[in-house]
């Protein structure tokens, strides 16, 4: 299968990642745990931009940024510094954002994803450190604004802005890249994607024959895919009609699924970057060796190990490592029961049931899945009953054994199945004749009757075989 990209789609992404696993902000000791706190309770002279306050760089933020760079196969800069990026908006208390300009902490990396036609390498141009602005809340409706309220709890949170080259060729590839990046960041333990505003995406997109537009501030991976799909359609329609795609910044309206123009290139800000005089330069490349040693096993490496250590399929390994907690959960289960059967049940069934309920693996206990897999292996419950146990565990809690007993899911003895088959065959002569006359569905009916008599505890495949043998 090859992907021809006939429209000449080129997509580049800028991803703002909040390093929210740090204990404190980028330049001050205010706690990062503000998410359920009242407004303006995690602020100090530094992150409020009060006159005379002196910022000091959080060492762990620098090391986290370097670790991300190393995980993305980037080079670490020899010497770097911070700049002031000037613009006026009340979410920035100082009138500038402390960011990096010509010497980002890391650059020239690459990440491989599953592209439209096999492996695709996305080059990482750079990643730089900066501070998050505060949060604005607009009062009243957009046209009749009664004022804007500001909460500076988020102000000064450490951000890493990761910029890719325009190597992405479809909205689906963009989403896969974002999923992969989030996966890596979670493995590095620098970032918790469940927190509000943890990852924000800007997307640059152009088609052959047109200029590039930038879509700002997309808040989800699905949103990025939808915004890009819409934008490609819009640009294609313009080009088809012989109109021009102009360079502009657009906003993605999540609710309506459309992008709208925010400002043209002419209205673009001039940020007047200049070196931040309150912060001295950083020379931290010599810490690379130490940080490399601290890097955890990353998703691709873990996938390969799971395949070789447990002899599971590539597909199962991929499904397991796409979530670190699930991968860890699997390894705990696999240490006690058959790893292949465990992989099937966790990757194929449990993961889907969790997603369906918007639950994390924390909703499940290792011992329950160990017991469940054991019962499946010992042929004590049917696959169908096992699915029912998982659903009950997630919906109503309890433990595996209890559910199996309470619901009477223990598989019936073989002689009980035989008895049920005898009864059903005795009561349904017509169906037997229909089947013998070539009506396949009648067999399904007979199996259904046996399942009914055994209250679903027989294995339908086995029942089917028994009946087919008896009446052929």
């Amino acid at each position: 299968m090859s992907y021809s990209n006939t429209d000449g789609i080129m997509i580049g992404l800028e991803i703002h990642v909040q390093l929210n696993r740090l204990k404190t902000k980028m330049f001050c000791g205010c706690s990062t745990q503000y998410h359920s706190s009242p407004p303006n309770t995690h602020v100090c002279p530094v992150c409020l931009g009060l006159p005379g306050a002196l910022p000091v760089i959080n060492q762990k933020a620098v090391e986290s940024a370097m670790k991300v760079g190393l995980a993305l196969n980037c080079e670490i800069v020899e010497q770097t510094q911070f700049h002031r990026k000037n613009y006026y908006y009340p979410d920035l208390p100082k009138g500038y954002q402390v960011s990096q300009f010509d010497y980002p902490i890391v650059s020239n990396g690459k990440v491989a994803i599953e592209g439209e036609d096999g492996e695709l390498v996305i080059r990482i141009r750079r990643a730089h450190m900066e501070e998050d602005p505060g949060k604005l809340i607009h009062m009243g409706s957009i046209d009749k604004s009664k004022g804007t309220l500001i909460d500076y709890n988020r102000s000064g949170m450490a951000l890493l802005e990761i910029v890719t080259e325009p190597d992405i060729r479809s909205p689906k590839e963009a989403r896969r890249f974002l999923d992969k990046l989030r996966n890596i960041l979670e493995y590095l333990d620098v970032f918790d994607s469940d927190l509000e505003g943890a990852m924000r995406v800007d997307a640059n997109i152009s088609l052959q024959g047109g200029d590039r537009t930038e879509i700002k501030n997309i808040s989800s991976h699905k949103g990025a895919e939808r915004a890009l799909l819409y934008e490609i359609m819009r640009q294609k329609n313009l080009l088809r009609r012989g109109e021009i795609v102009t360079m502009e910044t657009r906003h993605f309206d999540e609710a309506r699924g459309v992008t709208t123009s925010m400002r043209s290139k002419e209205e673009e800000h001039d940020y007047r970057y200049f070196p931040e005089p309150d912060l001295v330069p950083l020379r931290v490349k010599d810490r690379t060796e130490k940080l490399l040693q601290e890097l955890p096993e990353l998703p691709d490496a873990k996938k390969e190990r799971l395949i070789s250590q447990y002899s599971i399929s590539d597909m199962h390994a991929k499904a397991l490592v796409s979530n670190l907690k699930i991968a860890n959960f699997y390894e705990e289960v696999a240490s006690e029961v058959n790893p292949k059967v465990a992989a099937t049940w966790i990757a194929d069934v449990l993961k889907g049931e969790l997603n369906y309920r918007d639950l994390t693996i924390d909703a499940c206990k290792v011992e329950d899945i160990v017991q469940l897999v054991t019962m499946i292996m010992e042929n004590k419950i049917t696959d169908r009953s096992a699915v029912e146990v998982i659903r009950t565990l997630l919906d109503s809690g309890g433990n595996c054994m209890e559910i199996v007993e309470k619901k009477g899911l223990v598989k019936v003895e073989d002689n009980v199945v035989e008895q049920a088959v005898d009864d059903v065959l005795g009561e349904n002569k017509n169906a037997i004749n229909d089947y013998l006359n070539g009506k396949e569905q009648s067999l399904n009916f007979l199996v259904g009757q046996v399942m009914k008599k055994t209250r679903g505890r027989a294995d339908p495949m086995i029942v089917r075989d028994i009946i087919a043998n008896r009446i052929k």
Partner: protein, 93 residues
């Protein structure tokens, strides 16, 4: 060369309202300042290390330890316009 349009654009960026009758005068003043700096271009700096900071210090870092923050009352103490624990500003879109 700074033009009158540049002056108006810069004033917009800096959110400083200027009297448009003055933009010609400001353009001339800014150009004379830039001319003055132009003289520095004549110096050959090819062998000189750039100065990133006036001190020779590098790597001034702190450990990731929490320090007390302001209370909400302290944070809002010098603020005239506030509401429900927030700073309040005119409507922004």
């Amino acid at each position: 060369m700074i033009t009158e349009e540049d002056v108006e654009r810069i004033s917009w960026l800096a959110r400083i309202e200027i009297d448009s009758s003055k933009s010609k005068e400001y353009a001339e003043q800014l150009n004379s300042i830039l001319d003055y700096f132009q003289q520095l271009e004549e110096l050959d700096t090819s062998d000189i290390e750039p100065t990133y900071h006036v001190d020779d210090l590098v790597n001034v870092l702190r450990s990731d330890d929490i320090k007390p923050s302001f209370t909400q009352e302290e944070a809002l103490e010098n603020c005239e316009n506030k509401k429900d624990g927030y700073f309040k500003v005119p409507g922004i879109m």
